[in-house]
Amino acid sequence: MNTIKAGSRMTVKRIDINTSVLANNETWAKKNARRLEDNGVYAVNLMSSPGSGKTTILQHSFQYLVPALNVGVIVGDIATTEDAERMQGKGVPVVQINTHGACHLDARMISGVLDAFDLENIDLLIIENVGNLVCPADFVFGEHLRAAVLSTTEGNDKVRKYPDMFRKADAVLINKMDLLPYVDFDMETLRRDVKGVGSRAEIFEMAARNGEGVESWCRWLIEKVRG
């Protein structure tokens, strides 16, 4: 701390606090991380723009994940419980968070719903974020792995235009591969761009609507959870 004498009457102090602007979120994220660790829960933050297929990927992932692990899902949306309803009946507890306008989930919201799970009996908690390629990239929950979904219909340019999301991802899931013949999307460009924004993410190709390619992503994820 430096003290600067400014004039004869006032002392101006400079306080070097070096505190993160996101400190509030990070404090909650650390609490979540400790709680997940204590209960042996591996958490995944699943992010993408709206309509790229996060929920469909999850629906098709359960057939591979559920026999191997006890899975729980948190799903974030601005409004409605439609996504949670789509995932019902698969033997997986699903909790819906409605953000009422907020463009991303944050660590405090996640903390608020962890009580809804029997954490001791969960191995893998998948958190489906609000559909948005911008803000969710900045808000950690205390998760172990970040996965970003991009669908072929969105176009190759999204990696370059929203580099933060893809740079911070450990896995990039390319969905709607069945539509590749009808859209201008090129996998070689995609692989190049993912590296080109500084990412080392593992890339998976799938067509979640018919379940194709979902298994290899699930096998990889199961290995990660089992560490």
Binding site: I4, K13, I17, C103, G196, V197
Partner: protein, 120 residues
């Protein structure tokens, strides 16, 4: 997009620290913002102006923002070169595109300055 809530947290952090340090008037706040964080300096400044007077101790404070650019490092040849905000990170030496960005994600309150209570 969430600059307003972040600025609220910044001011709250400073309010608590000022109370711990017997400061009753904050004169300057310095934030460091990395260029590849998704935080927009202009939006932060707008939020700061909107909060003017809340809390009262920072009503006349000056906001200083320092933007930091990352350095790009080529994973193919090791060349280090300046970051282009336009998004083309191709290596100027070998044409490689497999890169690593060093820094540029900073997002923190470096310091604030303030006057102490009962100091007349």
């Amino acid at each position: 997009m969430h600059e307003t809530s972040l600025m609220y947290d910044v001011l709250r952090t400073i309010e608590i620290s000022a109370s711990d340090n017997d400061i009753d008037e904050v004169t300057e706040i310095k934030l460091v913002i990395g260029n590849i964080s998704t935080i927009l300096p202009d939006a932060l400044r707008f939020a700061f102006d909107s909060f003017k007077g809340h809390p009262p101790l920072a009503a006349d404070a000056r906001l200083v923002l320092e933007e930091r650019l990352p350095e790009v490092e080529c994973r193919t040849c090791g060349e280090k070169y300046p970051f282009s905000p336009l998004g083309d990170y191709t290596c100027p030496r070998c044409g490689g595109y497999d890169v690593q960005l060093n820094g540029g994600e900073e997002l923190y309150i470096e310091y604030y300055k303030g006057r102490e209570q009962n100091d007349c």
